[in-house]
């Protein structure tokens, strides 16, 4: 018997009991829709995280001061004021696995333009900072080496700062006063979006490091930086670069085994990789929970197929008497079950995709529907049909034609 004929018979059987077929399918529809929607929400979340990794810049190592002890009191991490611009320069030139190193200082203060003012974070950094962070300048120019060397009073504004001080006007070329000192705005940075913690990453002002050290921060010694941001040459070299930095700074700061290091290195992409991993685990978990409903749906299919076999015992008997082989009967009932689950799967995929789109539109959650998850869902629904359809079909094929014909 050819496949098209089998398909026709199965379709007719499903059509004769439309309501029952639909209710049976409903289990699969809900299961597949749940899997698709959950996977979409989950992969949307991990996509956002990987975007954030990109916004922080990849292969980044952060060097921050350690604690220091003065008069028996230990300061917390970052208390030591021993990292210097020279350390940053040395890391950049002497560590072979390092691409760039930028010393930074951080302050906060009021920024004034005309009759507008705004309190923000002021970051001092060498020009390498923008290479490391991969922050493009959308208007104007970045901080140059001449700005740095000459401690010129220029600044770059983030979008939030620019909007609050200038509205929609172009601030490039204007003068702003930072902590009452006039600076020329040379450029605007691209919007970076929110951090994984929900912080606005577009609320800062950037000035050359030396300008900041001279004018904006107070420290015991000159040339002190509050952190050094380092970019390794590649992802594989991050660990090696971290070790090189530690060795170099141990040497420069004369750290011995007996002395506690006055700095700490942190690997940022590691932190985010963990975050991404947890998002992936979450989406997997959601998918697993949803697939339980698929199994429940599958049991529903099996149940109805068993009822159907009993109901149609006479039909099976007739078919066998006029020449249907066991395999013909097996195939007929299997086709029915698989057709049910595949139709349910298709409707479920449409509903799940619609649901995910609705979630991202009305709740603002990021969702992503991948071809991969659709393919998996579809194949899975077919597999549910084969798995749960086999037992009832086997039962039908094993009937004795004489008993089946006599069945009332």
């Amino acid at each position: 018997m050819d496949f098209i004929q089998t398909l026709k018979i199965a379709l007719r059987a499903l059509r004769t009991n439309k309501m029952r077929s639909f209710l049976t399918m409903l289990g699969i529809i809900i299961g597949i829709a749940a899997v698709i929607a959950m996977m979409a929400v989950g992969s949307g979340a991990s996509y956002v995280i990987s975007q954030q990794i990109a916004s922080i810049g990849s292969n980044i190592i952060l060097v921050i001061p350690g604690s220091t002890t003065s008069g028996g009191l230990r300061t917390g991490s970052g208390g030591a004021q021993t990292l210097s611009s020279d350390d940053a320069r040395s890391i950049g030139t002497d560590c072979p696995s390092v691409a760039y190193a930028a010393g930074t200082v951080r302050a906060s203060g009021q920024i004034i333009s005309g009759n507008m003012n705004w309190s923000s974070v002021i970051m001092g950094g060498t020009p390498e900072l923008f290479e490391i962070r991969e922050w493009p300048v959308v208007s104007g120019r970045a901080i140059s080496q001449q700005d740095e060397d000459g401690a010129i009073k220029v600044c770059l504004l983030d979008q939030t700062v620019a909007e609050n001080l200038f509205g929609s006007a172009d601030p490039v070329g204007s003068i702003v006063r930072i902590k009452k000192i006039p600076f020329t705005v040379i450029g605007i940075l691209e919007r970076k979006g929110q951090s994984p913690q929900g912080q606005d990453q577009d609320d800062a002002v950037f000035v050359p490091l030396r300008t900041a050290q001279r004018n904006l921060v107070r420290s015991q010694r000159t040339g002190i930086v509050s952190a050094i941001i380092v970019k390794a040459k590649s992802e594989e070299l991050i660990d090696k670069a971290e070790k090189e930095i530690q060795m170099l700074l141990n040497q420069r700061h004369r750290i011995t085994a007996a002395k506690e290091p006055d700095f700490t290195t942190r690997n940022l992409s590691e932190i985010l990789a963990v975050a991404e991993q947890s998002a992936k685990a979450m989406s997997l978990l959601l998918g697993a929970v949803a697939s339980i409903s698929l199994i429940v749906g599958g049991i529903g299919i099996m149940n109805i197929m068993l009822v159907s076999v009993t109901e149609r015992t006479r039909e099976i008997g007739i078919r066998m008497a006029i020449g249907a082989k066991k395999n013909d009967i097996l195939l007929q009932f299997m086709t029915e079950a698989v057709l049910l689950t595949m139709l349910g799967g298709l409707i479920g995929i449409a509903l799940g995709a619609g649901g995910a789109t609705g979630v991202s539109r009305f709740l603002g959650w990021p969702t992503m529907i991948s071809i991969q998850s659709i393919t998996i869902a579809f194949l899975f629904s077919a597999a549910v049909g084969i798995f749960f359809g086999f037992y009832p079909a086997k039962k039908a094929a094993g009937l004795n034609p004489i008993d089946a014909l006599r069945y009332e």
């Binding site: 018997m1 050819d2 004929q5 007719r12 004769t16 006479r314 039909e315 008997g317 007739i318 078919r319 066998m320 008497a321 006029i322 020449g323 249907a324 082989k325 066991k326 395999n327 013909d328 034609p401 004489i402 014909l405």
Partner: protein, 231 residues
């Protein structure tokens, strides 16, 4: 004349728990091509078991069964399904048509399992339906047909694969007397065209349409006689 069916010492023993019941106790007969045979007997006489054996639905415990020259004994279930499909046509008491399926598709059913293409199936099914006088009723569902018409559809289904033998199990059991006569006249007409028919019945006036009557009692043949009279 060549035998289309040849039974030699057929026995059928049913085992239920530790009890044995011998439904056929050594049955032998030959049927030649073109015969119209009625198998008679009370219920429990073994006539239905004999019919199941003849229909290749139930293999005998022992004995030899030749159908159209082929030894059916020792065949597997798939081979038996093939034999039923190609050599036999069944007509049942309860018509046994597929509900919610047009008449013509019911007639086509054996040809589906024979592996014929849809156009050829339809062509042969229409010929068979015309043979039983149902031209024009192709698309009616069984529920839209009278009992007599449903049995005609069943006969068309039995005819469609050009079988060596048509087996009819109480074909008039569910019909009133005038419709019964109609169906029996159809069988007679088909038999005149050379089709071999074996029919199980317990009604003497129905059996009288057949040219030969085999009567069973307690698993044995007690009479096998030719009838000349036609009612």
């Amino acid at each position: 004349m060549s035998s289309v069916i040849s039974l030699t010492d057929i026995r059928r023993v049913f085992i239920m728990g530790d009890q044995q019941f011998e439904a056929l106790k050594g049955v032998s007969f030959d049927i030649t091509t073109g015969e119209f045979v009625a198998i008679m007997g009370a219920s429990g006489s073994g006539k239905s078991t004999c019919m199941n054996v003849l229909g290749c639905l139930d293999p005998p415990t022992s004995g030899r069964y030749l159908l159209d020259g082929l030894d059916v004994g020792g065949m597997g279930t798939n081979e038996l399904a093939d034999i039923r499909n190609k050599k036999l046509g069944f007509v049942f008491q309860g018509f046994n048509l597929l509900a919610r399926t047009p008449a013509v598709e019911n007639v086509e059913l054996p040809l589906i399992y024979a592996g014929l293409g849809s156009r050829e199936r339809r062509r042969q099914a229409l010929i068979a339906m015309e043979q039983v006088g149902l031209a024009g009723k192709e698309n009616n569902h069984p529920s839209q047909l009278s009992g007599g018409q449903q049995q005609r559809v069943a006969i068309a289904r039995a005819l469609v694969n050009n079988p060596a033998v048509i087996l009819a199990d109480e074909p008039t059991g569910n019909l009133d007397s005038s419709t019964s006569e109609e169906i029996m006249n159809l069988f007679t007409a088909l038999n005149r065209q050379g089709i071999t028919i074996i029919m199980v019945t317990h009604e003497h006036d129905v059996a009288a349409f057949a040219g030969r009557q085999i009567t069973f009692r307690d698993g044995r043949i007690i009479s096998d006689s030719l009838t000349t009279a036609t009612v």
